[in-house]
Amino acid sequence: MTFINYASREINCKIVYYGPGLCGKTTNLQYIFDSTAPQARGKLISLATETDRTLFFDFMPLELGTVRGFKTRFHLYTVPGQVFYDASRKLILKGVDGVVFVADSQEERMDANIESLYNLEENLQTQGYDLMKIPYVLQLNKRDLGNIVPAEDLAAELQKKGEPVIEAVASTGAGVFDTLKAVAKQVLTELRKG
């Protein structure tokens, strides 16, 4: 649910990056953090294990500018991708406004993508959301690797409802901001509907 603070004239939206383990969710956030002016962003909080796997979530607030006199802030979250962190993954989806599904383009991760997407639909339902109705973007990550599934085949398998499909290499930043823009636009368009 978009949070509008009339007292401080701020709109706060929550975007969650979802996807299988090691697909590059944290890398997306890290790239946004590294390439944003310090005054437009807050700290990047990463609750990770000693081996850098996300344990609970990564979090970063990002300020985009003003719309109709209201400061627009996006709270970006990632979920832990590993299968056994399902309980904490569910919690992060509370109050979500938009979801980015980060798919791993490597052939051997196809099953993991499908499983994670199914898990997303299920966990959204638990929180009372319908994937078919919320702002949603599909990112095909790791397009620079050798053993990847063609983008059309990936989209054919993973696209749910005609959502924007964006090819990316999160480690170099290719497609990272396009993804964020695509989901942010949908969230703000929802706001217009009221």
């Binding site: 807050g42 700290k43 607030p61 985009l64 500018g65 109709r68 509370k94 109050g95 942010a184």
Partner: protein
């Protein structure tokens, strides 16, 4: 009600900060709000696993600074305090003020806002595009 606290926050259970009061200074209130909500959500998950509905209060005591969180309906009252106060006092005052807050939130949520126009109904595609230029 005075609990000799340093900072007091009201945070939505989804992690959005609603209000803060006190010696905020350089404190990263946005992150604190998000982590407090994550903390309550995680302990709430633990509560359900052992057959409890939720844990209505949480406290974390540090060497100098401490945090006390109480769940008030869908909101969280987060109190940051140091050695000028004590956990007992903060707990007592939080409990007392929680009743008042709960009553206030009930009034606010039951109020009729249907006649208030959303300032965003008129957002244009250009407004949205301008954020990304």
């Amino acid at each position: 009600m005075d609990a000799s606290a340093k900072v007091v926050f009201l945070v939505d259970k989804d992690g959005q900060e609603i209000a803060s009061q006190g010696e905020v200074g350089n404190l990263d209130t946005t992150s604190l709000a998000s982590l407090a909500a994550g903390n309550v959500a995680a302990t709430g998950g633990m509560a359900q696993l052992i057959g409890e509905k939720e844990f209505p209060t949480l406290s974390h005591e540090g060497e100098k600074e401490s945090i006390h969180i109480s769940v008030v309906g869908r909101l969280l009252l987060v109190v940051v305090f140091d050695e000028r106060s004590s956990l007992g006092l903060v707990k007592l005052r939080s409990k007392q003020v929680s009743h008042q807050l709960a009553k206030m939130f009930e009034e606010v949520t039951s109020a009729d806002y249907d006649d208030v126009d959303s300032p965003f109904a008129g957002i244009t595609d250009e407004d949205i595009d301008s954020l990304f230029s």
